[in-house]
């Protein structure tokens, strides 16, 4: 490698400080202006009053937080927790056995099986939701199947079940990958030892495999729950506006009702819930 030598009378410490500045300043400035300032704005808007046509009036109020505890909004929060929780639970029940079996496949098949899990994730998010309209709607495929079996068609679209399905479909790969990583690095000798000592396959799973993969389970659950909980696109496309989640409320407050302060307060509530979960995950990871 050709390295040109330009001897310059620069003291090492000054060079170091200059280097730190040249490399860190552009990116950090960008992050301060377009990330930290916007987030600080969201935080500060929570204590101000709404403007008449959007925007904000800088007069202090605690009303936004009081409104958060209105039963109407609490029930939306509850629905969001329930829907995101269900999607996460089903993702875990499907994802764990899948990741477990992928981890035992021969090397070549392992790669193919993993790529096949990730592949749908790289297609457009809106289109993945759209696919379920075609499957679930009145004249859609699922109902045609039911009718072929001589059953009555049912309304599958525009309800909570459709929203859970859409979220599950969107984020299932994010459950399988961390689970696979956790299961893959388990020492197979541990399971063999357990089996040799007379434990049944189920006992080995319960006492050896599962406890050792808890951090992977937590990560996977977080990866599915976080984007599900704050989602507004899937509930809108597959819930037909009937199933409102926190994300839908925030969207409405910002783009339709033009109550930016209350929208910000809802966003803060969303972050608070997610932060609690992140802390819980960090706590479990440290104990494991």
């Amino acid at each position: 490698m050709k390295v040109s030598i330009e001897a310059r009378p620069v003291s090492p410490s000054r060079g170091r400080r200059l280097g730190a500045f040249v490399f860190l300043a552009p990116g950090l400035t960008y992050l301060i202006v377009l990330l930290l300032v916007p987030l600080a704005l969201v935080l500060s808007y929570t204590v101000f009053q709404r403007g008449r046509f959007g925007g904000v009036v800088y007069e202090f109020t605690g009303e936004n937080f009081a409104r958060l505890f209105d039963p109407l909004y609490l029930s939306v929060l509850g629905t969001s927790l329930k829907i995101a929780g269900l999607a996460t639970l089903i993702a875990l029940l499907l994802g764990y056995p899948t990741a477990y079996l992928i981890a035992q496949l021969p090397r070549k098949w392992k790669t193919i099986a993993l790529v096949a899990i990730v592949l749908p994730f790289w297609t457009n998010f809106i289109i993945r939701a759209y696919a379920w309209i075609i499957l679930l709607s009145g004249p859609g495929l699922v109902n045609s199947g039911l009718q072929a079996l001589g059953l009555e068609p049912v309304e599958l679209l525009y309800n909570e079940g459709a929203v859970v399905t859409g979220l599950l479909y969107s984020y299932l790969p994010l459950m399988v990958l961390p689970l696979y990583a956790a299961i893959e690095k388990l020492d197979p000798q541990l399971r063999e030892a357990s089996a040799n000592l007379g434990a049944s396959a189920f006992t080995t799973f319960r006492k050896v495999t599962l406890p050792l993969t808890v951090p992977g389970v937590m990560t996977g659950c977080l990866f599915v729950f976080v984007p599900s909980f704050g989602n507004f696109v899937i509930p809108e496309i597959l819930g037909g506006g009937k199933t409102a989640m926190v994300g839908n409320l925030i969207r409405t407050e910002f783009l339709k009702a033009r109550d930016w302060p209350f929208g910000s307060t809802l966003a803060l509530a969303l972050i608070a819930v997610l932060l609690v979960l992140l802390l819980a995950q960090a706590w479990v990871a440290r104990r494991a």
């Binding site: 280097g19 490399f23 992050l31 499907l94 790289w122 297609t123």
Partner: protein, 259 residues
């Protein structure tokens, strides 16, 4: 290892669940009838329709402009940031701040930027989306480049500095060539993420322009036609090819590295 046959039920269920909608989507895109639900016969007319749709083509061009702009920003700033964080500071706080955009819910970043653009009274358009996408794309580039950097040999850089090269020269002649594969991977990731991004674009684009995901979103809300299926099939083909080519390239790269 004994494996319960029962485990294969959720295993196959996962794959069927992931691929059944895609198969239906693609099959219906070749429908000669007007419905996206009942297949009547083979036809390519929806693909012809697609190519003639100006709104979709405009959306596609806008999406490519946004993805290119934000990738350039993210790649330059993200690479510098990664080097700065790895070699020029030990601050854990700066490390964490650089990762925030990657873990923050997109909706929160979207409304934050909407408030910010409103405060500085910026007229919304493609460039406000480019700046917005730059934020999270930079976090991903920085993360990918840092991974590459941790495998790079820091003593080469020290040698360069000992020989009297300044930080910028060392970066240009020693660090950058070592990082090139990581930078390319980060840029590709940034580009793909921007192509697909909907929520932040939806909030920060204003009323005069639309990116492709926003066009698709408004089409879906209008009604279901096989034209959307044709568009979906084309996009699927593009992303599947990209993923498989990417996979091949890493494999070739790995086997070269072993030689």
């Amino acid at each position: 290892m004994r494996r319960s046959r029962l485990l294969y039920v959720p295993f196959w269920a996962t794959y069927v669940f992931l691929y059944a909608p895609i198969v239906v989507l693609v099959v219906m895109s070749f429908n000669s009838g007007e419905s996206a639900y009942t297949y009547e016969g083979f036809s390519l007319k929806w693909y012809a329709d697609l190519a003639a749709d100006e709104r979709i083509m405009d959306g596609l061009i806008n999406t490519l402009i946004v993805a290119t702009g934000s990738t350039v920003i993210a790649t330059v700033l993200g690479t510098l940031l990664a080097v700065g964080l790895a070699r020029h500071t030990r601050s854990k706080t700066l490390d964490a701040v650089a990762l925030v955009p990657a873990v923050l819910p997109d909706l929160v970043l979207a409304i934050g930027l909407l408030l910010f653009y409103g405060m500085i009274q910026l007229t919304l358009g493609l460039y406000s989306v480019i700046l917005a996408h730059g934020v999270f794309a930079m976090a991903f580039v920085a993360a990918v480049v840092r991974t590459r950097l941790s495998g790079a040999d820091a003593s080469l850089e020290e040698a360069s500095r000992d020989l009297g090269a300044g930080p910028v020269t060392t970066f240009r002649k020693v660090t950058l060539p070592q990082l090139a594969p990581g930078i390319v991977a980060g840029a590709l990731l940034a580009f793909t993420l921007s192509l697909d991004e909907f929520v932040i674009a939806f909030f920060t684009i204003g009323n005069s322009e639309q990116t492709l995901p926003i066009v698709i979103y408004s089409m879906i809300r209008f009604g279901v036609t096989p034209k959307i299926n044709a568009l979906a099939a084309v996009l699927l083909l593009v992303s599947f090819t990209a993923v498989i080519v990417g996979q091949r390239m890493t494999k070739i790269g790995e086997s070269r590295a072993q030689d």
